[in-house]
């Protein structure tokens, strides 16, 4: 075995920009000189904190990926690790592990009428997906099959909304009804009578369960991104499994690794 086999590593990343989008929601733009490959929507990286007491990388989805090895992550300050990460300043360095996970099946979705559903902190990964789908769809289909996005927020403290409007038709749902439909993303889908050939969703578990049920009922393809506590992020520790509806190739039991076989799954094969 030679060094050439090494395709992934823990990488240095330079902070280009770091700003607050809404209360507790931060946008972190990184330049990653050794980025091994282009990012697919739905993939994630592990972000390390600078604190020696916190060993594990924090899984954060890729929200956007520009040229020149740039990555953008949008995250919620949820606990100690993200609070530590939130203190990074432009010009400083951090370390990330990646790129991890599989991502949404963008090629399969080409020229389909795709509905993107993002709830809360599940919104960020949808941005790169909207961008790539929109770029992929060619002239005519673009108008006939626009990328439709429904974004669900708690209240009027929205984030990333304008950026979605560049690539997609955008609907809003808020829990308190202050903007758009009062309710969750599915309330908006039903109220607006949105129809699609496929759904891609990311958000809290109750939303994903409802979306899975809705897609099954409508008989359309549905891809959802799952979350679980992770240790290694690369498939080695078996920390992050999801129950599957059939025995999978790797585990030979009905458990699949979210960090490796996921985080994006065809909803019908996971038991959530």
């Amino acid at each position: 075995m030679t060094e050439t086999a090494i395709r992934k590593q823990k990488m240095r990343a330079e902070v280009l920009r770091h700003e607050t989008l809404a209360p507790g929601i931060r946008s972190l733009e990184l330049r990653v000189p050794e980025l091994p490959s282009a990012a697919r929507p739905g993939q994630f990286v592990g972000v390390y904190t600078g604190d020696g007491a916190m060993l594990l990388p924090r899984p954060i989805s890729i929200c956007d990926s520009g040229d020149e090895k740039e990555l953008r992550l949008v995250y919620r300050v949820a606990g100690k690790g993200t609070a530590e990460i939130a203190g990074l300043k432009a010009g400083e360095e951090t370390q990330i592990l990646g790129i991890l996970g599989n991502g949404y099946p963008v090629e399969e979705l080409k020229n389909k009428r795709v509905l993107l559903l993002g709830g809360g902190i599940g919104i960020p990964p949808m941005l790169l997906l909207a961008k790539q789908l929109s770029a992929l769809n060619s002239g005519e289909e673009k108008d006939q099959s626009p990328v439709i996005t429904v974004l669900g927020y708690r209240d009027a403290q929205m984030f990333l909304r304008e950026e979605f409007e560049k690539y997609a038709q955008v609907f809003i749902a808020t829990e308190d009804g202050s903007v758009g439909t009062k309710g969750n993303v599915l309330t908006a889908v039903k109220q607006e009578g949105i129809r699609a050939d496929a759904i891609c969703a990311c958000g809290p578990m109750p939303m994903l369960r409802a979306v899975k049920a809705y897609a099954a009922q409508e008989g359309i393809a549905c891809y959802i991104s799952l979350e679980e506590r992770m240790a290694c992020g690369v498939g080695a520790c078996l920390g992050c499994v999801a129950k599957t509806t059939r025995e999978d190739e790797h585990s030979h039991v009905k458990n699949t690794r979210i960090c490796t076989e996921g985080p994006v799954f065809n909803a019908k094969y996971v038991d959530i």
Binding site: L55, A236, C237, V253, T260
Partner: protein, 322 residues
Amino acid sequence: MNTDKNNIENMPDLSVEIGGVRLQNPVMTASGTFGSGMEYSDFVDLSKLGAVVTKGVSAVPWEGNPTPRVAETPSGMLNAIGLQNPGVEVFCERDLAFLSNYRTKAAADAVGDGPRVIVNVCGHTVEEYLEVVERLSDEPVDLLEINVSCPNVKAGAIQFGQNADSLMDVTQRIKRIAKQPVIMKLTPNVTDIAEMARAAEAGGADAVSLINTLLGMKIDVERRTFVLANRTGGLSGPAIRPVAVRMVYQAAQAVKIPVIGMGGIGSAEDALEFILAGATAVAVGCMTFHEPATAVSVIDGMKDYMIRHGIERISDLTGAVR
């Protein structure tokens, strides 16, 4: 002196021997933290390792515990994977086949021994252990590591490791049928680790490895629940290193067979603590999650240390602090 120094610089001897098997260096991966090597082969050159120790393998596929299975703790982590594994059949076909490539390749390229393959074995009953050990008899496996110390499986397992008599008994029964040398992996959740090491030795073990994880618990005070679905989990990482070094020291004082030390190793310095305390070899566990290249940098750092201190053979350092 100068020539000596040059010799060392050219190649300080990192090789060690365990149960008659020569390892090119004393650094292994700890069971359960490295899959079967496949996952991390994207990150590190496996052929540099002393040995790859696989995730625990049982006679039939095991589902493991419900999630959440892992939690971070100060300078450590808890896990309650519950020994999920695809069973020994799939393991032999897929994982062993993958690992064997490295040995074949190393031999072909004449670049050294390549990594030794150590299979970690688990079971609920002695019979289940025996079944796996038997199945592995003619497989390309260099050493067996018997996990009688997993804190995350309800039935059996750890109880073997918390009682000297049953530990000796299970060791004897495994040794009777094992074709490969046997390492008994000890749990730290005992009053007297020296007694356990002696029991393994008395049962005929070729080596002992320690420590497995310390039983721990984390509570989410906002939700008022256990963080792990299994309630308790095994604590590993730098947090437990002082306990692990102490136990390795005590075990090494108690037995003549080699001791393999682990618990929170993240650097060559950490690894050398274990070796100086009495370990013949060491394993890198969850620090690989922090930095996938940890095991390789431990090897490199060890080499540097030996050159700096003029040490020809790593085995000269085993138990050097007493």
